[in-house]
Symmetry: C2
Subunit: 393 residues, 2 copies
Amino acid sequence: MKPTISSSISSLKASPIREIATKLEILKEDPELIGLGGGEPSLDPPDFLLEKAGEILKNSKGYCATAGFKKLRQRIAECMKEEGFELTLENILITNAASNGISVAFKSLINPGDEVITILPTYVAYPGLIQLNNAKMVEIRTGIENNFRIDIDELNEKVNKGKTKAIIVISPDNPTGRILNKKEVRAIGEIAKENGMAILSDEAYYLITYNGKFEPFNEFMDNLVGIRSFSKTASAPQWRIGYNYANKDIIDAMIKANQYDIICPNVVSQKLIIEFLKEENRAKREAYTKYVVETYKKRMEAMGKSLEEHLPEADFVKPDGAFYYFVRIPGIKDDAKFVSELLDTKKVAIVQGSAFGMRKDEGYFRLTFVSENEERINEGIKKIAEFLKNYKN
Amino acid sequence: MKPTISSSISSLKASPIREIATKLEILKEDPELIGLGGGEPSLDPPDFLLEKAGEILKNSKGYCATAGFKKLRQRIAECMKEEGFELTLENILITNAASNGISVAFKSLINPGDEVITILPTYVAYPGLIQLNNAKMVEIRTGIENNFRIDIDELNEKVNKGKTKAIIVISPDNPTGRILNKKEVRAIGEIAKENGMAILSDEAYYLITYNGKFEPFNEFMDNLVGIRSFSKTASAPQWRIGYNYANKDIIDAMIKANQYDIICPNVVSQKLIIEFLKEENRAKREAYTKYVVETYKKRMEAMGKSLEEHLPEADFVKPDGAFYYFVRIPGIKDDAKFVSELLDTKKVAIVQGSAFGMRKDEGYFRLTFVSENEERINEGIKKIAEFLKNYKN
């Protein structure tokens, strides 16, 4: 007799973006494929790190404390002073990138039955994580008609005193590119403070801004879990490294949870990031960030231009940050079918809006501009337009 | 108002071994410290890997599928043919080392209320993981008086039909060094098969044997989740990389669970392991394993000799595999107090038996022989003996 699968996992939907990634692992070898799907940086990590990579890898050894190297936690706290945070190493937990950061924050805060407010569309993992933690997702829907802004009155109404445990915010947002402004940050912070809610602030893209700047929740440290990663800012998803910052009680709880999940974060990756954040590398680091943002900004502009030119049917808001356009093509009845057939016939990868919590007949799609250069982005959009011309729902 | 910590995490004990690791992060710099505590290999990963490390790190990019690179999964399945397993890549999940492997197996199989049979003493993480998954730990106690062997009759009695979901076995065992023999493997396998139980087989040390050989559960693939890591066999805990093997249904469930936890395993580490497992590197790999086992065997013998000479009060069984002696010193009333005072006054790190599920007044302690050379091992045992002479309970 075979053992059965746990009900929490068997009732869980596979992450739609990961299904595509699995399909793409085969297609990736195909030079014809145009990747506007997963948000995978096409840039390399900074040269000044790669130059030392071999040496760093050779000199890395053993385990470390679950929270990560004290030296790295200390340095991150220092760097965050410039953003207006007053933190010590006790406010920092090194993670195996943001996926671990998100998952450990959920485990440490959410009880079965808790309500978690989620702004839709949202990053693909959140609905599944809420389900895995036996919590209830309370949705606030945004759309292109209101530029994906959050209705603060609606947020106030959705808070269920004593039941609402957290609100998830992403800024710059995946998939919409929205950056929360100071007023929104303050309003969300005050609501969280008043109701003892946690603000799960997904800041994977905080340095990747084109218009406006990332606004920190630094006035709300009692309620905040900030989740950051070096996957996007150092173009290093392959290193699986990031950090969470929060008040000491929450950090201590997350350390306990991570003891049973990861033991300790990757030691090699931590040493690479220690090098990255050294004061003596400040100029190089800042130049690298500038290069990343400028490169992506050009691609973002190119995609916008191409969308206007070749896909006039599509509605979109120009992203203020992050890696994506979240476009709406009217008249599509099943977004996943569209994506799957587009990939099969035109070899262009994009992601359906329903993966981010939209209805499948709303016709939303996420297109990334970070994996291909301007020419190939334009090529991809033209292929989508050709495909759309003959598309049958 | 601050958000509260989830009840599952606030009721969880911090892992005792991780507490020591945190304390040791400061002490590690002290050359006087003799580390007989955490099972951290003092050897380096193989030279033929380190030589390519820089190049491999530079050529690693992006994310990969959650289950890991197909090429690596395929190669592991091939390598396991020689052990008598008939597997394909669909039976392999690449993990962020065994801690992720264990945790994802629990999530994918255990429902709240399930019973999980655990042989005590056991690896420190298991009781906590059982608690985190809201399952019930059913204990089978072993001790030095029966050479830490498992009583199969007792195992049969402890199976609660329809309630018992899994049995955790570790072979070679941490902390006792016991290797399950063919008869025991078969008996456990049959009981699992008959009752639809999963065998969670922790095989982190399967290549590290001094007397006898690791016996695989290859006849019981329907019920098996094998959990392996390269932390011990390639002396590379810093890379956080391993794999689980199981039937396809369980692998698929574990892939789903890992989508929400790790997204994908470390890409650099996977590429290093692809290199490690290449057919062309077979002779180098086998030579490396031989070197590891011979080095540790010498240290194991040295620790045994030193224990006999300087600590005649201690009872112990010579380990057949893994990294540890699990000794009993009669008359100790609080093993954690002993360990803490030993560290403070003599700068020798060991781990209390109660961290592995023994009672604190049984006087068990785990001593590793893999972190120090023969001379320093002897030095450490002498210091424990001196400390014991004046120890007050």
